[in-house]
Symmetry: C2
Subunit: 210 residues, 2 copies
């Protein structure tokens, strides 16, 4: 009956503001007042959409992780559409996780910012864990597909190798972020290729349409 507003849009405005604040000054510096200012609205309005600050932060973290996962999915789907090999698809998807531009650096920054909080909060921990196992299971499926089509050798432990690949990618992202000078972009990409080539040792039987 009364005037209406786009709730999703508002939530997005607020969580985006939180993200920007985290990138600029860290999670510690995020206050509802500053968030409101950054989002261009009043403190009261932020409260109207998030009853408590915790909710606001949880929503932000969830949103970032969802975007993170869906970006991987998108890459995979595009790769499938274009008839890429599985190895190539995976390579692109994992490259997407590296902090090689500002946007991805920001994303990593935000995900890392919640490390402390997530370790002592069940909700945040769940989001973090689900993101991780989500990525891992996608990689595992890719490996299983590779086994079928011939890119991956028979008898390879898909889950185990997926764990290794994702852990490796995450660690690489961390190193790049902490010590960019010591890990030039091409070294990072080369390391990724190197690791993937140890799992994807064959060529696809179906990919003979050069």
């Amino acid at each position: 009956m009364p005037r209406v507003a786009d709730h999703d849009a508002r939530h997005g405005q607020i969580t985006d503001a939180v993200q920007r604040l985290i990138v600029r000054n860290g999670l510690t510096a995020v206050t509802v007042a500053r968030t409101a200012a950054e989002a261009g609205m009043s403190v009261g309005l932020v409260q109207h959409y998030f009853t408590a600050k915790d909710e606001m932060l949880l929503a932000t973290f969830t949103r970032v992780n969802e975007r993170f996962t869906s970006r991987v999915d998108e890459l995979v789907h595009r790769g499938e559409a274009e008839g890429c090999t599985i190895a190539e698809m995976l390579r692109q998807a994992l490259t997407e996780l590296m902090p090689l531009d500002d946007a991805r650096r920001a994303e990593l920054l935000v995900r890392r910012a919640f490390a402390d909080t997530a370790a002592h909060n069940a909700c945040l921990a769940a989001v973090q864990r689900e993101t991780l196992v989500g990525i891992r299971s996608r990689v595992a499926q890719a490996i299983r597909n590779g086994t079928v089509c011939g890119e991956v050798g028979q008898g390879v432990d898909a889950a185990g190798q997926a764990l290794q690949i994702v852990a490796f990618a995450e660690g690489l992202a961390l190193h790049t972020h902490i010590d960019p000078d010591g890990t030039p972009d091409r070294a990072v990409l080369a390391a990724l290729d190197d690791h993937l080539s140890r799992v994807f040792t064959g060529t696809c039987r179906h990919a003979q349409l050069g």
Copy 2:
């Protein structure tokens, strides 16, 4: 002339208290009042040893990172004394970085707790980076030694492989920590072995003393 106190001991008491608080409730929950209480002293005394809270946190982070690095060194030295192969030494050292018991879980927790702050504070960032490159250069040296003695093939890029190994170990530690159920201890250790065995492919020429 006046009464004297063991400054190092006091600093240790305080930073230990900070660590315990971080493990229990997170970095966010660390206040000087709580730290004083945890350390069994007055707020004034904490101030007497650390002018500002920032100093206190920096000292804590530095201490944890030093312990972290020196633990690796210790493992390496012990390995050398016992005549282990380089691969075996490295395996033990990297295993030491995994959160497989409470002490190491706590250490990882503390190091991760500073992720957000370190990303926006030059001093903390420096400590973090130096720890990382310190570990990495030690591993690189181990690989170079391995090349000399025959455990590692000729023409292997020591720095590049060191980056890969450490990044992998760190990523593995992270996964274990975030999703312990999905990464049982033996899977983690197996993954480590698997990765190391790809670099250490030969046997030491000198190790023929049965």
